[in-house]
Symmetry: C2
Subunit: 227 residues, 2 copies
Amino acid sequence: MEFNLTIRLNEKLYLRNPEESELGKKILQQSINLIEHIGFESFTFKKLAREIGTTEAGIYRYFENKHRLLLYLVDWYWSWQEYRLGLETKNIPGPKTKIQMAIRLLATRVEDDIATGHINEKLLHDIVMSDGAKSWLTKHVEEDNKDKLFQPFKDLCAVIAGFIKAYNPKYSFPFSLSSTLIEMAHSQYYYMHHLPSLTDFGKEKKEEDIIRFLEQMVFGALDSPNK
Amino acid sequence: MEFNLTIRLNEKLYLRNPEESELGKKILQQSINLIEHIGFESFTFKKLAREIGTTEAGIYRYFENKHRLLLYLVDWYWSWQEYRLGLETKNIPGPKTKIQMAIRLLATRVEDDIATGHINEKLLHDIVMSDGAKSWLTKHVEEDNKDKLFQPFKDLCAVIAGFIKAYNPKYSFPFSLSSTLIEMAHSQYYYMHHLPSLTDFGKEKKEEDIIRFLEQMVFGALDSPNK
DNA sequence: TTTATAAAGATAGTAATACTATCAAAAATA
DNA sequence: TATTTTTGATAGTATTACTATCTTTATAAA
């Protein structure tokens, strides 16, 4: 028996749904390979077309521009993380364990999930670490936000904020702590590998240390008297 | 009497030192205005040249490309923050107060500093929040890092890590906590204004709340038993 | 004062990027 | 079989990201 996970995203992300055709799926698959390989700045639709064996115009039929394609991939990633988190925290009673699970899922390098044929989660994880922030660091954040293009990130943030509130209902900053946690799980990993002197994990480069750091910080904040 | 603050940066950032000529200073001044106004993605040397009343080629004599110019501005900003932090924590005895001062300086919207003629710190602050991360989120981070192009950020991070170690010598993650603090002071501010549902400050939009959040988190982490 | 030299301005040119438009061929669907 | 949809092929344009060259102007040394 086979399981197949499909994630349906906001229609404003694309001109034609890439999940609904072979070419569309190839665009998703190969754009992940190519962005991971050459970086988002050097990535162009022309290069992607060459890689796939189609034409530039063909790709423009699916995505307005490369920023929208990035948004699609990033939204896909956060939706998938929320889905995973839902699975892994199902039937777990204590909010503490749920928060710990969230930290673990976010700070651990992902393995490719076979249930999603054309998406390589491992590579996508690297892309989100290196380029994810670029999806909202633009002059058009607010319009994109009105179009709900950041919804998956916000949803994940809200889920974890929910765990935080369940753990300590008196804590004043559940959303900020949640977004800090999510962002730092990625940043500290990126720093550890590329700018290690911004971290305390430079020598060993162990994910477990990032998890210890984040746990200590989060529960430090949540367990301390909240003025 | 007049005071004049000049910050000398890594020579690899530029082809010709922009601090040493009128045109160079105009490049710095106007690039800040223009990047803040249209965003880093839309910013080009041609537009900048038009703004200044010089030619594209003229600007290329100072900076290899717009990424290097961004790095220059970002490095300038972090150097200036370190300088300010040094000033403000001089003669303050307790490390707790120093950490609080660091948080306050980082999380408070800056006023233009008259001692630096051609640099508008207020606008530069906005640029660093919106585009600062793009200076290291590239495929050439590691080469840039070898060239010490991120030194000012690292230095500031190390100074604050020093305060953290002084406050609690047993704490295991002074550098990671420091980089988290610096990054979050900017991110939370950016989120508060553009993606408020990622924070708890959406309604009031008060800097004081960000400061409270960061202080509570940092001292929560530092005062809790460190396993 | 001439004379070297460095900086700035003016102009041109090129390869690549970020698209848009059009038309024909192929595939799917009615 | 006819019709609609999707893809492929080709062309074209404005802008970007540079490099090159040559002249003028400002500065400073002889």
